[in-house]
Amino acid sequence: MIKKEPDLLIQATPMLRQEMTTPRAMLDVWIALIPVILAAVWFFGVGALLLLLTTIAGGLMTEWVFTPADKRRGVMRDNSSLLTGLLLGLTLPPGLPLWMAFLGGAAAIGLGKLIWGGLGSNLFNPALVGRAFLLGTFPIAMTTWSPAMGPGHFFEVQGSLFALPFQTPVYDAVSAATPLGLMKFEQQSTALSKLLIGNTSGSLGETSGLLLLLGGLFLLWRRDLDWRIPTAIFASAALFSGLLYLVNPVQFPGPLFTLFSGSLLFGAIYMATDPVTSPLSPRGAWIFGIGIGFLIVLIRGFGGLPEGVMYAILLMNGATPLIDRYTQPRVFGRQARSG
């Protein structure tokens, strides 16, 4: 017998939900990056950890200050700023002064996210906005790379990290060119094994090709990323760089070097796949990825900068609304949509 009639809810169906949530997806990326973080600390010492913490703090504090009090709880819990700060931190050179890193974190969240209306509204990858801001603002500090060290120097934190705010940093370590810089300005290639393991100079999180791929596989398994985007980037970067290599193997690197050098892997797996700023439809994802690959090869090969991944992704972010608009999926039972 029904003893007591419950107060029935009238909530619309479907009653069932799958388990994945947005904060959980953000956390997955974090988990995927843990080996990369460890490698960064291994190669660049505790200073790397300090840098990561600083960018994250810069982002979180900006978010906290500029979010209306009534929305703070929800916003702070979605883990997205935590991820943005980490991603930004991993793209910074190991000797960057902490105050710049903090500023970068603030710019990433402020210019990259809050101004647009918060998570989901931004049209450019916030971490890359932060990095582009830093690169434009402090071009020298952002391109001064310290060499990868080893565990022997684990506790040696570079003095430049602690430069006073607004002051020019003084570097105590000899700077080293990145594999891309060596390639562009001195036509020197770097062994693939070094690129895979990561004991080269470069941004904190971009050096170790193997670990980056490993994290990518984890995300693929968790179905957190659109596999089409990295695949398209790899394919088009390999294709275009291969063509250039065939034309002039002295000036242009081969496809393998192109794929494993610089931040191509990092950008393709963790930055370009940011769902908010990449196209929704499968066809759009292909176009997006191919465009990024092409722009990377264009900027690296013919531009003034040795590296172009960040700009390539930002530029394609800018084109994403257009791509989305013209790649609407064909609706079931209808002919392909024209325009």
């Binding site: 419950p6 009238i10 169906t13 009653m15 939900r17 949530t21 439809s281 499968p282 079931f332």
Partner: protein
């Protein structure tokens, strides 16, 4: 972004869709039980898609079981029959399953009646021509039993120049929890095949296919055992995926063809019928029983004793539930139909109708909605939508109240299967937003506003 699913590569499925947990184990092995007759029955005049029926009985009139109590209000409408022997006590507005009050005939059962059907008149279907056959189907009050309750006779009225070649029997039952079709296939395969035989001959179709999802191996086996070589019937096992039971998805899964938007299955020479509908046709021609009862699954974590039941139409949900032990105290929500597309009811005093396939009780575990996060355009809903719509964009447009722009994104093609909401990691009620938008658009077009 998640179509790595190898199932897509196999024959016999549609693209996209979702895989909610089936939850069928509670009732899948329970034989169908008959609910004893109660004392009051409520027959809403609009239990089907189309115009409501018109009452042909008056208050106080005595009825026998199976007697016609209402006649079609239009071509897309059908007959209603009394589910019990008894007396009309009221004709007027009563609480409907959607929460509103709608006209219904209230019948008081005769407690001393035997509730036997009157002796069957012989209806030799073999002698009927197609028009007479369609008339008989309407006369039996038969509608689609899968949930939509679309009058069956309309479906069989094929316009001049068209020919049905394929009879597709829908045994997919892709909604979680529900096992009523499953049990019907297991327990009454003869009736099902007999209904198929009738339909094949009357519609002139070349063959019949029974599409059953692979998670019902016993049903597939039993049906195959009962096939006779004289009857061109095939039983097809389909990969488990929601919403396989949607007509157009089933056609795509079985024949690999898309029904063009704006067209009907019959334009491809196909007619799709739920197993319940086919059995009801067989019953009418075999025993003369019109559509006055149906199989209902009672299940869900809030149901004390989940069951499969034969319920006379018009029985109140409360009576059905109390027959099988009532609700647990944790129950928060009761849904009529499946958990994906059914509708919640506000009161237990609403009747079981022709389209009621299940009564599901849910507790906090299911009703607690996750906190809603902003859409991060992850694309999971695009991968889920069987109609290849862009639910993310539709939801964002709906939130910005740009309803007319939603038409450019084919909001009208949405069948509201709920796959997008199911799959959304940000917990956005996408399908509800789409429903609101459709309502708004319909309202605007009724008022003749330019949209």
């Amino acid at each position: 972004m998640h179509s790595l699913n190898p199932m897509n590569l196999l024959r016999g499925s549609f693209r996209h869709g979702v895989h909610p947990a089936a939850h069928k184990e509670q009732t899948v092995d329970l034989p169908i039980q008959r609910v004893p007759f109660g004392d009051r029955y409520l027959m809403p005049l609009g239990q089907h898609i189309g115009a409501p029926s018109k009452p042909v009985v008056g208050v106080g009139q005595r009825l026998y079981r199976g007697q016609i109590i209402a006649e079609p209000g239009a071509f897309v409408s059908t007959f209603l029959h009394s589910p019990v022997t008894g007396r009309v006590i009221d004709i007027g507005p009563h609480r409907h399953t959607d929460g509103t009050f709608k006209p219904a005939i209230e019948i008081e059962a005769d407690p001393y009646a035997t509730q036997q059907l009157p002796p069957a008149q012989t209806r030799d279907w073999k002698k009927l021509d197609i028009t007479a056959f369609i008339g008989e189907v309407q006369r039996a009050g038969i509608v689609g039993m899968g949930g939509a309750a679309f009058p069956a006779h309309v479906k069989y009225s094929i316009p001049e120049g068209q020919q049905i070649t394929e009879l597709l029997v829908n045994g997919a039952e892709c909604e979680p929890y529900l096992t009523n079709d499953h049990r019907l296939m297991v327990e009454r395969p003869e009736a099902l095949l007999r209904g198929i035989e009738i339909l094949l001959e009357k519609l002139g179709a070349a063959r019949a296919t029974i599409g059953v999802e692979a998670n019902k191996p016993d049903a597939i086996e039993i049906l195959r055992d009962h096939l006779s070589p004289d009857l061109p019937v095939e039983v097809v096992s389909l990969p488990v995926k929601y919403p396989q039971g949607a007509e157009k998805m089933l056609i795509k899964a079985v024949y690999g063809q898309e029904v063009p938007a704006g067209q009907l299955p019959r334009d491809l020479g196909v007619t799709v019928n739920n197993v319940g509908t086919v059995v009801a046709i067989a019953d009418w021609f075999d025993t003369g029983m019109p559509l006055i009862e149906r199989v209902v699954t009672v299940s869900g974590p809030g149901a004390a004793y989940p069951s499969n039941l034969i319920v006379p139409l018009g029985t109140s949900v409360r009576d059905v539930l109390s027959f099988c032990g009532g609700l647990r105290s944790e129950t928060r929500e009761v849904v009529m139909g499946g958990p994906m597309m059914g509708s919640p009811i506000a009161s237990l005093d609403v009747p079981v109708m022709k389209g009621t396939s299940g009564i599901l009780a849910f507790t906090n575990t299911e009703t607690l909605r996750p906190p809603e996060y902003p859409c991060i355009r992850c694309g999971r809903c695009l991968e889920a939508c069987p109609y290849f719509l862009n639910p993310s964009r539709l939801a964002r447009l709906a939130k910005a109240r740009l309803f007319s722009e939603m038409k450019d994104y084919r909001v009208q093609d949405c069948v509201e299967c709920g796959s997008c909401t199911f799959t959304c990691p940000s917990g956005i009620p996408i399908v509800q937003l789409i429903r609101t938008a459709k309502d708004n658009l319909a309202h605007a077009s009724r008022k003749g506003e330019p949209t």
